[in-house]
């Protein structure tokens, strides 16, 4: 019996490890290629896995051609901007939908649900026309724009508020709080985990957003990371070390953040889908 368990355990680990390798190979390859010369990267000899010399040429070249500092900044603005607006608007609305009763509430909420079901591409052209009409193409505002409100966030926060005990509001009222105060001092703090979850979720998807930044911020100075990567494919088409170096520089920040905040990430994603 003991042996059987042992063997099962080994098999299990074997399977998991093989899976892990599949998960990691692209990243490893990205790293290895980034340090090679162009000729080394197109070498057809499969045993040339490691670069003969760990050169930083590709990195240098890529960093001069694309100011990564600027790209990081734009991406950061994009992420934080959307998180800020999404959390604030969703928290307010989530509380109202979840705990207050007022006429028109259900109708409004069904609109929220509706938006969640619809493919986002429907919104892109009109949103684009609005932003360009305002003359705000190629600005941070443009990047944040679609994320000013979050239907999903509203939904999530509503769930969270609904799960809180009813007595809280009564208690607060007895203490003389009006609804606004009840919200601010009593209810909102209790939904912290949902807010964090929303924040993380929003930040992650803002980081990965490709079509919108591609369409709206076409200038080099205002473009965030993913769209910039899409563009350089045209520029450095066959220069694999440079392409990989750029990709690496693009994904590293998020990976670092993820490694530090793993628990929150996982918790956040789980919450966003879990409590249904």
């Amino acid at each position: 019996m003991e042996n059987r368990k042992y063997i099962n355990s080994i098999l299990l680990h074997l399977v998991l490890i093989m899976g892990s390798i599949v998960m990691l190979v692209p990243f490893l390859w990205m790293v290895l290629t980034a340090f090679k010369t162009i000729s080394e990267s197109t070498q057809m000899n499969p045993f040339v896995m490691f670069p003969s010399e760990w050169r930083f040429d590709a990195f240098e070249s890529v960093m001069t051609k694309m100011s990564f500092g600027r790209l990081y900044w734009n991406t950061l603005v994009l992420m934080l901007g959307r998180v800020f607006f999404a959390v604030i608007t969703a928290t307010l609305a989530g509380y109202a939908f979840g705990r207050l009763e007022f006429r028109g509430r259900n109708l409004m909420f069904s609109l929220v649900i509706f938006q969640m079901m619809v493919p986002v591409q429907i919104f892109i052209i009109p949103q684009y026309l609005i932003v360009s009409g305002l003359g705000m193409l190629n600005t941070s505002f443009a990047l944040i724009f679609p994320g000013l409100v979050s239907a999903f966030g509203t939904f999530l926060l509503r769930q969270s508020y609904m799960s809180l005990p009813k007595e809280l509001e009564e208690a607060a009222r007895l203490d003389g709080c009006n609804i606004g105060q009840t919200f601010l001092y009593v209810m909102a703090p209790l939904t912290r985990s949902a807010m964090v979850a929303l924040g993380i979720f929003t930040a992650l998807f803002a980081f990965k957003d490709l079509m919108w930044p591609l369409v709206v911020n076409t200038e080099q100075s205002t473009i965030p990371l993913s769209a910039a990567l899409a563009k350089i494919q045209g520029q450095f088409a066959a220069n694999y070390p440079e392409l990989m170096a750029a990709s690496l520089l693009a994904v590293i920040p998020m990976i670092i953040i993820y490694l530090f905040f793993q628990k929150q990430f996982i918790q956040g994603i789980a919450t966003s889908g879990g409590k249904l």
């Binding site: 990691l24 409100v149 979050s150 889908g273």
Partner: protein
Amino acid sequence: MAKQAKLKGTNRARSEFIWGWLFILPTMLGLFALNIIPIFQTIYQSFFKAGAFGRGNVFVGLDNYKRMFADESVWQALFNTFKYAVVEVPFSIAIALVLAVLLNRHMRGRSLYRTIYFLPMVAAPAAVAMVWRWLYNSEFGLLNHLLNTLGFDSVNWISNPNTTFVWIAVVGIWSVIGYNMVLFLAGLQEIPQDYYEAAMIDGASAVKQFFNITVPLISPMMFFVSVTRIIAAMQVFDVIYMMMDRNNPAFFKTQSLVYLFYRYSFVESDRGYGSAIVMLLLLVIMIITVIQIRMQKKWVNYN
């Protein structure tokens, strides 16, 4: 006494009304401006033909739709998108579920594994697609190198019109497994251990336990994941945009509907036609979602 209660009730109701609307105002305003009205605008736009540089919108009635119905590339793209979804969704769910079950117990390295499997989710699709494109390169890519060393012929991973969509879906699966896994892990944790203990006492094997306990009890989560993943898969754009171009022989049989939308709306500035395509996408997604909701009763277990 009753009068007082009624007064209190009206005041309360009034107060909730005011606060309620106040709180939802930012979101609803945003929703209207950014989402609801745009839906109508897109519908409206689909009846026009836009000129260059944002000028000269010409009303063309149903022309865009007529053109779309006759356009082979649109239907091919729709079919391509289906093909992609059919590969990506089931596999990513199945593999993620198995992973979640495997990692749901206390074991060494559990959090390390979870970290690793979630990692692809964190990388920007643009970067991910670039690496995979490189890995798949029929001439210089790692995968063919390995195949060749083992004595096999090279494979045209992303230039074979018939099979490319599979390998692109693999990239999609690779990216999203971690996400699905995390959701399933959360769902699994809701399942009381007692069920499993009882089953073990009855002598049920692990596989039997999986199909008779785990699957039914996690079916609500599976439903949520499959609905959202299908909607997302139908909107696939990033990987295709990054991994394919016009030169590629597999292009026609791989480009997705959203990719067509992007091309017509932003590259060829034919916004009217792009809008019509989006309408088609909306219709298809709605139909699929409704079907899924109907079928829910057949296989999803709500307790």
